[in-house]
């Protein structure tokens, strides 16, 4: 009996209170913890370093090509005479179509979903549909544009065909942003408006939309910046490599900055200068995107109302 008690005491000590052993294990655990911390930090830095490299190589290759002539000349097969004026104007045209179309469709859809549609099967059906559309690869939208707008409607690879295709692609961004903005307008504002005798539409137009405008505009700008950076749908609708005239109407053929980058990059195996010209065009595109995103952030911060 006594023996047994002693034995169990021994066992107790050896298993639970061996300070040396515990300390030794603790040191390794703490060491691993610290080591892994730096490993994780290094992997976080990896993303930042790659970003720095990417920007550095593009600036190194492209900065020398940027001058007034490059920005204002038309496209040409001769590197020294080629410029991106057509692509810049084409990009502006594209925004000119995508902006209004997505605003009308996106805000309309969002108002319908948030203010009019009854919560139920149909509501969740549209909502799921929008979520799924946001995940469809952009090249598939390009095929849709090719089949419907270019071929069926006979628009050809024109601004209107490209703009409508791109509008459908970025529509989910505007819808989701507008829905969030409308949802964040507090209920008491609507009730106060109804209390003054306003109708539902009057309330939406005079109270809800102005209060959610900052969020909606942020969404529209983000959608536009997605649209002007996208290439795949426009390649799919068949925009040719060499568009020399500058587009002047909505039915004209056109090219945009990303398309120009694409063609110059794949042809850089033929003409060395094309790689630098692609890099220079990338600089222009990134500056435009940076400015648009800054505007979006400013709008969001400046007009964000807290209720």
């Amino acid at each position: 009996m006594k023996e047994f008690a002693l034995k169990s005491e021994e066992k107790f000590h050896s298993h639970y209170l061996n300070i040396e052993k515990v300390n030794k294990r603790m040191t390794t655990r703490l060491f691993i913890n610290n080591f892994v911390k730096y490993l994780f930090l290094a992997s976080t830095m990896f993303g930042l370093i790659v970003l720095a490299f990417l920007i550095y190589t593009i600036l190194r290759d492209g900065l020398g090509w940027i001058n007034m002539d490059f920005l204002t000349n038309r496209l040409s097969t001769l590197p020294e005479r080629a410029g991106i004026a057509g692509a810049v104007v084409g990009t502006l045209w594209l925004m000119f179509v995508v902006g209004p179309v997505t605003m009308v469709l996106g805000i309309g859809t969002a108002i319908y979903l948030e203010e009019y549609a009854k919560r139920g099967r149909f509501h969740s059906f549209i909502q799921t549909n929008i979520t799924n559309l946001a995940g469809v690869p952009s090249i598939v939208f390009g095929l849709l544009g090719l089949t419907i707008f270019v071929r069926m409607f006979g628009f050809g690879p024109s601004i209107i065909a490209g703009g409508l295709t791109m509008s459908l692609l970025v529509l989910p961004i505007v819808v989701v942003a507008s829905q969030e903005a409308i949802r964040s307008v507090p209920q008491f504002l609507r009730e106060a408006s109804y209390g003054m005798g306003a109708t539902k539409w009057q309330t939406i137009r005079n109270i809800v939309l102005p209060a959610s405008m900052a969020g909606i505009l942020t969404g529209v700008i983000l959608a536009l910046s997605r649209a002007i950076g996208e290439t795949a749908p426009l390649v799919a609708i068949g925009i040719p490599a060499l568009i020399i005239p500058i587009p002047s109407s909505i039915t004209d053929n056109f090219t945009v900055l990303p398309m120009q980058i694409y063609y110059w990059t794949i042809d850089s195996v033929l003409v060395d200068e094309y790689a630098s010209m692609a890099a220079a065009t990338i600089i222009v595109l990134l500056i435009v995107l940076f400015l648009m995103n800054s505007v979006a952030i400013i709008i969001r911060n400046k007009f964000k109302k807290r209720y």
Binding site: L51, V235, P258
Partner: protein, 311 residues
């Protein structure tokens, strides 16, 4: 003074205005409904065009051959043959390389930002990483083709000038922010009390992360991986530029390969006129692509909804 206005006229005007307003009140829901239906029409348009042209394609090419043959020569004048297998292996291998880059780096970045970094570091680093997500894919394509491939060729002399490795790596870099920010959101929603409980029991931060935070956030983390894969499968420009257009059935990532997306680009921007078999084949490929990405996205939504542990 101005002209006199009769009260009757005023009332009549007001009535007119009210009627107009009521009319608007009744029609506006219908207009908005019509606008909301455009998104459904878009889906219907995508599915129906893809289905219809795919059907036309499979009248000319046997569906079994399409999935079992390994010979892909769509534009051959002598004997065109169609097979999705080379495109599938290309897509899967490049996505695999991308995920081998994006998952470890994205997840550890998420762990660092959510568990280790101080609030000020987090606030500074997170937006910079998200810049990576905002860069157009064509820029990544340029980067892969003119910068990453030449560097890799220094180390791997056998690497072709267009190959699957370089676009895979660059695509992985593009997907890092997606994996990182979704995983970080999932980890952030794990309540602090659970971490503090484990820390109080003597666990190190790493042990807390591996045994408490990650298991609790696993649904969101897996969802971020699946969305990343779906993104990789649907990505077009990086592979079109940097991975070439070889349709050989191979598993060697130093070789040129074509993905499903790059095939669509090649055929639409190339020589196949409407009505040819090659033209229809691109819809069959696009249909497969559409189904894959749709299933992935729905799967991701499903796991993040169903297996979410709510606290």
């Amino acid at each position: 003074m101005g002209k006199t206005v009769s009260v009757k006229d005023l009332i009549r005007n007001k009535d007119k205005k009210n009627k107009l307003m009521l009319k608007a009140e009744r029609t506006i829901p219908f207009i908005l409904f019509a606008l909301a239906s455009i998104s459904i029409l878009t889906t219907v348009g995508i599915v129906s065009t893809l289905l219809y042209e795919t059907f036309l394609f499979f009248r000319e090419v046997s569906i079994i051959e399409f999935f079992t043959n390994t010979n892909m020569k769509p534009l051959s004048r002598v004997e065109p043959s169609f097979s999705i297998l080379p495109l599938l292996t290309g897509t899967i291998l490049i996505s695999l390389v991308a995920m081998l880059v994006a998952i470890p780096i994205g997840l550890t970045t998420a762990i660092y930002l959510s568990e280790y970094a101080s609030e000020s570091v987090r606030k500074a680093v997170k937006p910079i990483i998200e810049v990576l997500a905002g860069i157009p894919t064509i820029v990544y394509g340029f980067f892969a083709f003119t910068f990453v491939t030449p560097i890799l060729r220094e180390f791997i002399p056998a690497l072709q000038s267009t190959n699957a490795l370089s676009p895979g790596i660059v695509m992985g870099i593009m997907i890092i922010p997606l994996v990182a920010s979704l995983s970080e959101d999932a980890m952030n929603s794990v309540p602090k009390a659970m971490r503090e409980g484990a820390l109080a029991l003597g666990a190190t931060k790493l042990e807390v992360t591996l045994r408490v935070v990650i298991p609790a956030a696993i649904s969101g983390i897996i969802a971020s991986f699946v969305l990343g894969i779906s993104r990789a499968i649907g990505e077009t420009m990086i592979v079109t530029i940097a991975s070439g257009s070889s349709k050989n059935f191979t598993f060697d990532i130093t070789q040129s390969m074509q993905t499903m997306t790059a095939y669509i680009v090649e055929v639409t921007s190339g020589d196949a006129g409407a009505g040819t078999t090659a033209y229809y084949s691109l819809y069959a490929v696009a249909f497969a692509l559409f189904i894959f990405t749709l299933l992935m996205n729905m799967f991701a939504g499903h796991i993040s909804r169903k297996y979410r542990e709510a606290y």
